[in-house]
Amino acid sequence: MYHSLFNILSGRNTRQGLWGLPLLVALLISLWLTVETTQFATAENLFNLVAQAMPLIIAALGQLIVVLIGGLDLSVGSVISFTTAVLALDQPAIVLIPAVFLLAAFIGLINGLAITSFNVHPIIATLSTQYIVLGITRILRPVSGGSVPEIVIAAVSGSFLGIPYPVFWGIVVILVGWKLLYGSRYGLHLFAIGGGIASGAESAARNFGVSDRRNIILAYVVCSCFAAVAGVFLAGRIVSGDPNVGLLFELDTVTAVALGGTQLSGGIGSLHGTVIGALVMALLANGMNLANVSPFVQTAIKGGILLAVVGLQSRKKMGL
């Protein structure tokens, strides 16, 4: 018992990565906020916290899938902004909502194809699509405005049995992610491919009959679709399209994923760790807001956290 607890806290000998420690950090921040402020431990603030954290949790789960295969998707933020801009196009919801997911899947497909078929480094491929998608978003909606379909707004702002809808969004997204990673053949393949890439044997999974090309393309498509879900959620929250809402979101997702103990070199990581990582980020933002920290300093602190958590990971490869 002692041994397994130690393993969980240190992340040693597991495919899950180090996620016990961030959980401890999350609990400590919550405890500190409860003691320091009177507003924190109220049901209202906690539900608010869930709603604030939800876009990050959703997008970070998408990022996790890409990180598990040793990639990185820097187009997440742009896809989120793009989704809100498309949703604010003044068309019926029945057209817009499928369109948003098809477009996101298409962006993911371009990323995946560039990486697998055209041999482009994941960071370069997704950096390019980040700029292309951002440009298209700015053409669609130069400044924030427009209105999103009623159904999208209703889906995030209501409540059921006293529990606000965002909580249900979280449950559904986590269940879907859980099924994908731990309840399907695809999830097993992701860990297999990533483990091979992380240890330098890039064809390891292929040699065991796992198609790396198809699975890698699918990972980028799934990541973009998760980003689109986050975009739909955000569009409902801000009730309009905003070309800048997803700014720097890709780095927040990477921070959340790395904070949750997932190794950026691939193959090691967990869904619960990522959710905890995203919660730590949300708790910190909540705490800094309650403590009246300037938004500029908050951005700098987030950068520092990213640097620290990624700096503590060790990997073999140098460079990109």
């Binding site: 482009v120 950096l127 700029y131 950026l264 700098a300 640097l307 990997r315 140098m318 460079g319 990109l320």
Partner: protein, 317 residues
């Protein structure tokens, strides 16, 4: 497709950096659309505008040849611009600012290099995070408002001409030549090439891989500081937004110039023309009435296109 790519003529053509083709295409477009703009004076002004980018490209190409990347240039430019324009150093002379800028760039570059070379953190993450931290700090210190003015000498120097060529352009060409010599004639240059080609083989041949990567990043930081000085001279005021899009443009120009992570076929002059392409591209886009979103798309398409161009080439035996 594969057969066409494998033919000697196609392989010879693929060896030439895309920037030369793009440069010719853009020049032709401009010549057709606005022939009267192609004179030395007007072009001189356009080229002078992208000198900060051109200088930043020199640092970028050094780190990209050791399979790394530096996206912290935006933060360095912003921080140095803040130092010079905020009045935090009242009565300071120009040499003081130059030394301060170079020291700042060197320290940040060394930090990047340490994190990437020693701690082996992903270069994109480190340099982006450093940039975010610096931008956040500068915006906090200036509380979101542009700081004050820049000493007049900076802008005066920027506006001088030598034999009817703007001095900044001349300075850029000289610096490019210096980096070219550094990479082709010195031991450090050889180390950079061998680390980029195969870091493991370089390590077992006695090349100090880690030190080379750290030095490359320190050099990139130093060059970013020089770019920051020129950029500050060009806008002549303090700003909280200046130069934020330069690092990504520098990556695009470098890839366009034939230097792609570890492969240095374009040398130093390929990326030089890559930067010139952006000078022409912005002119052509302005002439054709394409505004900022179109430029973002063009940047993305150029990076992706050039990267695919190389990805396909690496695949062919």
């Amino acid at each position: 497709m594969a057969a066409v790519l494998a033919s000697p003529i196609a392989r010879g053509l693929l060896r030439i950096p895309p920037s030369y083709f793009v440069f010719i295409v853009l020049l032709a477009t401009l010549w057709i659309a606005r022939p009267n703009m192609l004179n030395l004076n007007i072009m001189g002004i356009f080229i002078r505008q992208i000198v900060p980018l051109g200088i930043l490209v020199l640092g970028q190409l050094v780190v990209m040849r050791v399979k790394s990347i530096d996206l912290s240039g935006g933060g360095i430019i912003l921080l140095i611009n803040y130092f010079i324009s905020s009045g935090s150093f009242p009565g300071a002379s120009m040499p003081f600012f130059v030394v301060l800028a170079l020291a700042t760039g060197l320290v940040i570059g060394l930090f990047n290099g340490f994190m990437i070379g020693n701690r082996r953190v992903s270069a994109v993450i480190v340099t982006l995070a450093v940039s975010i931290i610096l931008v956040g700090l500068v915006q906090f210190l200036s509380s979101g408002n542009p700081p004050g003015d820049v000493p007049k000498l900076f802008n005066d120097l920027y506006n001088t001409k030598f034999l009817s060529v703007p001095t900044p352009v001349l300075f850029w060409i000289l610096l490019t030549a210096a980096v070219s010599l550094l990479l082709s004639q010195t031991v450090f240059g050889r180390y950079v090439a061998s680390v980029g080609e195969n870091a493991e083989a370089a390590h077992f041949s006695g090349v100090p891989v880690q030190r080379t990567v750290i030095l490359a990043h320190a050099l990139a930081g130093l060059i970013a500081a020089i770019a920051a000085l020129v950029q500050t001279g060009s806008i002549a005021v303090g700003s909280v937004r200046v130069g934020l899009d330069l690092p990504i443009l520098a990556v695009a120009a470098t890839i366009l110039g034939g230097v792609v992570f570890g492969r240095g076929d374009g040398g130093v002059w390929g990326p030089f023309f890559g930067a010139l392409c952006f000078a022409l591209l912005f002119v052509v886009m302005t002439v054709l009435g394409i505004d900022e979103p179109g430029k973002l798309i063009a940047q993305g398409v150029i990076i992706l296109g050039a990267a695919i161009f190389y990805g396909v080439r690496v695949r062919t035996p």
